[in-house]
């Protein structure tokens, strides 16, 4: 059994650690590239959302390099993600690939059943430690990324913080024990702490809300966060992989509380969940308005149903909460040039707003 899975940001590091820990070999799909996208576009239904197409590209490239088992996720609606796997399986079979597809449904019984398929002879302590190492890596990756977002707008040498992080990511990937991981984390953090910063600046603060896949996969969002960082913006990404796993899979109290809070904030605008992350997109926007953020960027794949509803509600939220919102859709045609122009215009608007507010407000 040679396992593969779709890419989503740094998730491959986490899943590789997990499956290796369960005694399985893993074939990580090649990093997402133009070819991945082309393969995906060629064999997917034309109007399906971009994550579907990129997944198909990932699977083809992984099967080509010998993978024979695909692990991917299911779902019970109403977001389309839940029905992806059914169609993807048949597309890949028609292309002549022989493989097994394990679809993990978001129910604990299903997860246990699939765990048994992947790791039939593992002892419980073994499974437990595989999960511990994988989740520890996930939390480390996310917290380093968050730190870099804080540093980026302030660093004297642009790109320094992120290259320290990337070095750390490579070491996290190969760390085999919790102790080794802790050492990497400490070292990377102290290197980040010594990145030289300009003093006395108050960068614009922009929150990123929207659909998880586009938010977590830089290939999809065309490196949105780094572009913003380079423009001197402090990015607040509202969702990381760890938030998703801790909230949706482990159902940790703090996340459930946060979700209730966001739902309450969104209530006047969207009074029922409609799947995906739309409720959070709206709740976070209200929240960031109250917390005096400078702006919000709402991102999602073209034709994503829940976020399209959110997009048509956000203008009202934006004017009520007095915070500018920029909605960006991503598809295979979104060019980087177009993105940069829109980002620059938005950032200029926010700067202008801030300066006129400070002018109007003498203290």
């Amino acid at each position: 059994m040679l396992i593969t899975f779709p890419h989503m940001g740094d998730m491959s590091i986490v899943l590789k650690t997990l499956f290796n820990g369960l005694g399985r070999q893993v074939s990580v799909p090649p990093p997402i590239s133009k070819r991945t996208l082309e393969l995906g576009m060629k064999y997917s239904p034309e109007t399906v959302c971009l994550p579907f197409k990129v997944n198909v590209g990932n699977f083809i490239e992984a099967l080509e390099q010998g993978a024979d088992t695909i692990v991917t996720c299911g779902g019970v609606g109403p977001c389309r993600l839940g029905y992806y796997a059914e169609i993807q399986r048949s597309i890949l079979q028609d292309l002549g690939f022989r493989f097994d597809m394990i679809v993990v449904e978001p129910a604990i019984t299903n997860i246990l059943k699939n765990l048994h398929r992947v790791a039939p002879k593992q002892s419980l302590p073994n499974i437990y430690s595989a999960f511990r190492l994988a989740t520890a890596k996930m939390n480390t990756l996310d917290s380093l990324q968050q730190k870099v977002y804080r540093l980026q707008p302030r660093e004297i040498n642009p790109g320094e913080a992120d290259s320290v992080r990337l070095q750390g990511v490579r070491e996290i990937d190969t760390a085999e024990t919790l102790t080794a991981l802790a050492a990497v984390r400490q070292e990377t953090e102290s290197k980040l702490d010594s990145v030289k910063l300009r003093s006395g600046i108050q960068p614009l603060r922009i929150g990123i809300v929207g659909e998880i896949y586009v938010m977590l996969e830089p290939f999809m969002n065309q490196d949105l966060a780094s572009h913003l960082g380079n423009m001197g913006v402090e990015v607040h990404q509202t969702m990381f992989l760890s938030d998703y796993v801790n909230g949706h899979l482990f159902r940790k109290q703090e996340y459930l509380k946060l979700f209730q809070h966001l739902a309450a904030l969104a209530q006047p605008y969207l009074r029922h969940t409609i799947g995906g992350h739309s409720l959070k997109s709206i709740g976070h926007t209200v929240n960031m308005g109250r917390k005096n953020f400078d702006g919000v960027i709402h991102i999602f794949p073209f034709t994503c149903m829940p976020e399209i509803v959110a997009k048509n509600i956000l203008p009202k939220v934006s004017s009520d909460a007095n915070i500018p919102v920029l909605s960006l859709t991503f598809d295979e045609q979104s060019g980087e040039a177009g993105l940069m122009t829109r980002l620059e215009a938005f950032v200029d608007l926010l700067k202008y707003r801030r300066s006129s507010q400070t002018a109007a407000d003498p203290d």
Partner: protein
């Protein structure tokens, strides 16, 4: 004075409209339904971004009603009409889209209908709607019961009997294929070309559900579930239909997957299948050409060579 309630002729109106009308009339209301979709309806709907054509059309109908001096707009939030199934997220979020995009709407009767986990929720919705109009629960339930009796009698059944005309399965949301503006009168066009047209609403829920059992995973959007089931019924019956047309709106989320699914099944059974996507810019000429090309091909297949 009787209350005037407006119902937009869009989205689920095509499935449940008659039922709603009878129910509201049973509650003593005067019901105003908008007319057929026109170009003007489309224009009003175009203020919404990135949404599918049926949602724009619905919005346009609401616009029309808002100007027509009604006391309420009947816009129930239909979350689910069957156990473990949902409506499309855009349909679920519709009342919120209305609130956020229109000033000065008449009050919305946006009661929640959610049968996802609990079938009794329908009765709660019925009671809630009645209460808004000042009726007591028993009265409301009675009005619903009457309306429902009528609705039930109208259940269709598809019988695969042979006819002399060739048959085409036209698969699509009822608010697409039965809206003359959106569908460009596709049903009439096909009939005029000499074909018998079978639509999903001619296949009963049970027939469709039975056919959909052959799917690996149950489809969790009710409409799509029925459409896929109807398509499978039509291509698996003896004799099967001669061809399938899957008609969808640009940017329809569920259809992107369901269209692919149906296309694959039809090809496996060697039944020609065409995907027809419409949006507000679809030109009549090109549309007709595609229909003709497809039907020509079906006619040639029928003739023994």
């Amino acid at each position: 004075m009787t209350v005037r309630i407006g119902i937009p002729r869009g989205l689920l109106y095509y499935q449940y409209g008659a039922l709603w009308e009878r129910f509201l009339q049973g509650l003593g209301a005067e019901v105003v339904v908008t007319g057929d979709t026109s170009k003007a309806t489309l224009d009003c709907g175009s203020v919404l971004d990135d949404v599918c054509l049926p949602v724009k059309v619905y919005f346009g109908h609401i616009y029309e009603l808002a100007a027509r001096n009604v006391d309420y707009l009947f816009t129930p939030r239909i979350i689910s009409v069957a156990a473990r199934q949902y409506c499309c997220p855009k349909i679920i979020g519709m009342p919120d889209i209305l609130h956020s995009n229109m000033e000065q709407l008449p009050p919305l009767l946006d009661i929640n209908v959610n049968l996802h986990q609990n079938g009794c929720s329908l009765y709660q919705a019925v009671i809630a709607a009645g209460r808004r109009l000042g009726k007591n629960p028993l009265f409301s339930l009675y009005a619903w019961h009457n309306a429902w009796q009528n609705h039930r009698r109208e259940q269709p059944f598809f019988c695969p009997c042979r006819t002399d005309r060739q048959r085409i399965g036209l698969i699509g949301h009822s608010y697409i294929i039965h809206d003359h503006q959106i569908s460009m009168n596709v049903i009439d066009k096909l009939s005029n070309l000499g074909f018998e047209v079978i639509t999903p609403d001619m296949v009963s829920l049970c027939q469709a559900a039975a056919a959909a059992k052959t799917l690996n995973k149950k489809i969790f959007w009710s409409n799509s579930h029925h459409m896929a089931g109807a398509a499978l019924t039509l291509i698996q019956s003896t004799p099967p239909v001669d061809g399938l047309i899957f008609m969808t709106s640009f940017a329809c989320g569920p259809d992107a997957l369901i269209g692919e699914l149906i296309k694959r099944r039809a090809h496996a059974l060697n039944i020609p299948c065409m995907l027809l996507t419409v949006d507000e810019h679809t030109a009549e000429a090109g549309f007709v050409t595609r229909l003709e090309a497809f039907t020509d091909m079906l006619s040639r297949r029928r003739q023994p060579c």
